[in-house]
């Protein structure tokens, strides 16, 4: 960053200059506004789904930008990082205020996600990415089975917290708008949760996608939190994981201003809506929405690994 600060602006490589030629001139601006509006709509959809399920929306943003708009994967991933932070910060305003995000669980588990993210960025050139896609894809597919086995469970029944969770006072209460009452929950298996969160961070640092899914699974399957608390706490956390890699993307020039604007604003608007809708869903219904997205991502990752 310092080097480019000296030159004033990021000096683009010739290839970069070439593929940004479409942003040139006044005539292109009309086309740009049209593209901006369309991306705004898709981003709003990503914000709604992401904020309801605890994901960053990259699962939607990346395919939309690469397949529909034929933008380079680098630019799509840069936009997806912006989308993750916007979903997280936008949704967490409401989820934290309403006591749905468990702040202590989130901040405790961020130890593992940030460590994993940095390790991932370091190991990016060392570890075989193809193998990782397969391993993480299979892990997600396996988790889908675990999630389906719990499909009839509205609230997990856990009598007492794990000793470490008790010491950290992780157990909490949230108000369930559908059940119309306050729900108290205990917290299981903090070490398993930390392990999964480390994997989520590693994935974010290495592959740049899917870490929200892992976070929700870690809290739902391992730590036995109610699904709404898991998705709201995941939303609270994903911004921090993404911020750990956003600086790199920004300095590299992967975050395009004209692309990032509609993505950030659309996602923020979507998150505003999504947080209002999510509380009206049953945990069971949310699970049914979650499983197909989980399976689709697992499938996509295994394909990339193959």
């Amino acid at each position: 960053m310092l080097q480019s600060a000296a030159t004033g602006t990021g000096a683009p490589t010739p290839s970069r200059k070439a593929r940004r030629a479409r942003t040139r001139g006044g005539k292109a601006i009309a086309a740009q506004i049209h593209q901006t509006l369309v991306i705004l709509v898709f981003a709003a959809a990503a914000g709604i789904i992401g904020s309801m399920l605890g994901l960053g929306g990259g699962v939607i943003i990346v395919p939309v930008l690469t397949l529909i708009f034929h933008l380079p994967l680098r630019d799509a991933i840069g936009a997806s990082i912006v989308s993750v932070i916007a979903t997280s910060s936008g949704a967490a305003v409401a989820y934290v205020r309403d006591g749905l995000s468990n702040l202590r669980v989130g901040m405790f588990l961020e130890i593992a996600t940030t460590t994993g993210a940095i390790a991932g960025a370091y190991l990016a050139g060392v570890l075989p990415t193809a193998v990782l896609y397969t391993v993480f894809g299979l892990m997600l597919a396996y988790s889908a089975i675990a999630l389906l086995q719990n499909r009839h469970v509205e609230l997990p029944q856990l009598a007492a917290s794990h000793p470490l969770a008790a010491r950290l006072k992780l157990a909490s209460t949230y108000h369930d708008a559908v059940l119309g009452r306050d729900v108290h929950y205990e917290v299981a298996n903090p070490y398993g949760g930390l392990g999964m969160m480390g994997a989520a961070g590693l994935m974010s640092g290495l592959l740049g996608i899917g870490s929200g899914l892992f976070k929700v699974l870690a809290m739902d399957v391992f730590m036995k939190l109610p699904l709404k608390v898991s998705t709201a706490t995941s939303n609270f956390m994903i911004g921090v994981t993404a911020a750990a890699s956003a600086g790199v993307y920004f300095a590299r020039g992967d975050i395009q201003p004209t692309l990032a604007v509609p993505v950030a604003l659309g996602v923020l608007a979507g998150a505003l809506l999504g947080t209002r809708w999510m509380v009206k869903f049953r945990n069971r219904t949310l699970r049914y929405v979650f499983v197909p997205i989980l399976l689709a991502t697992a499938f996509e990752m295994v394909l990339r690994g193959a």
């Binding site: 960053m1 310092l2 080097q3 480019s4 600060a5 030159t7 004033g8 602006t9 990021g10 000096a11 683009p12 970069r16 200059k17 942003t23 001139g25 006044g26 601006i29 506004i33 932070i85 916007a86 910060s89 967490a92 305003v93 934290v96 205020r97 006591g99 468990n102 702040l103 202590r104 901040m107 405790f108 961020e110 130890i111 940030t114 993210a117 940095i118 960025a121 370091y122 010491r167 950290l168 006072k169 992780l170 909490s172 209460t173 108290h184 911004g239 921090v240 911020a243 956003a246 600086g247 790199v248 920004f250 590299r252 020039g253 201003p257 004209t258 990032a260 604007v261 950030a264 604003l265």
Partner: protein
């Protein structure tokens, strides 16, 4: 927003039992407001930059160029270049989670919860480390 935040503060009164019912519920309004401030300021800046881009018919830089370092973003903002203003908004968005972690450290310190202060401070160190590594490797 004002009245809903007030509701929570009224509802969060039960946190006086120091985490007996809702762990650290007293901190929730603080964190929520920190995020709201970050998101609002960033969105307003980004929108202003984009409107300028549309009205002026360009980003204020040669085609394909936009600032990628904090120094060049800030000097671009002083010169009122649209892309620099958009990028300032995006940087504020990226910094919002970092700001939230910092507020968390203060919040846990106020609750005299040394374990969580240590955990949150570790996260802050990791974030700072990631920005330093990004600078070196980027």
């Amino acid at each position: 927003m004002g009245q809903s935040a007030a509701q929570v503060e009224a509802g969060g009164g039960d946190s006086s039992a120091d985490g007996a019912g809702r762990g650290s519920a007293g901190m929730a309004p603080l964190i929520s407001r920190a995020l709201l401030v970050g998101v609002s300021v960033s969105a307003a800046t980004t929108i202003a930059g984009f409107l300028m881009y549309v009205i002026l018919g360009g980003g204020g830089y040669p085609p394909g160029v936009f600032p990628v370092a904090i120094g060049s973003v800030l000097s671009g903002v002083v010169a009122m270049r649209p892309f620099a203003i958009i990028d300032l908004g995006l940087l504020l968005l990226i910094l919002t989670p970092v700001f939230r972690v910092a507020v968390g450290i203060v919040g846990f310190a106020r609750e005299h919860d040394s374990t969580m202060v240590a955990a949150t401070s570790y996260v802050m160190c990791m974030l700072i480390l990631s920005f330093l590594l990004g600078k070196a490797g980027g």
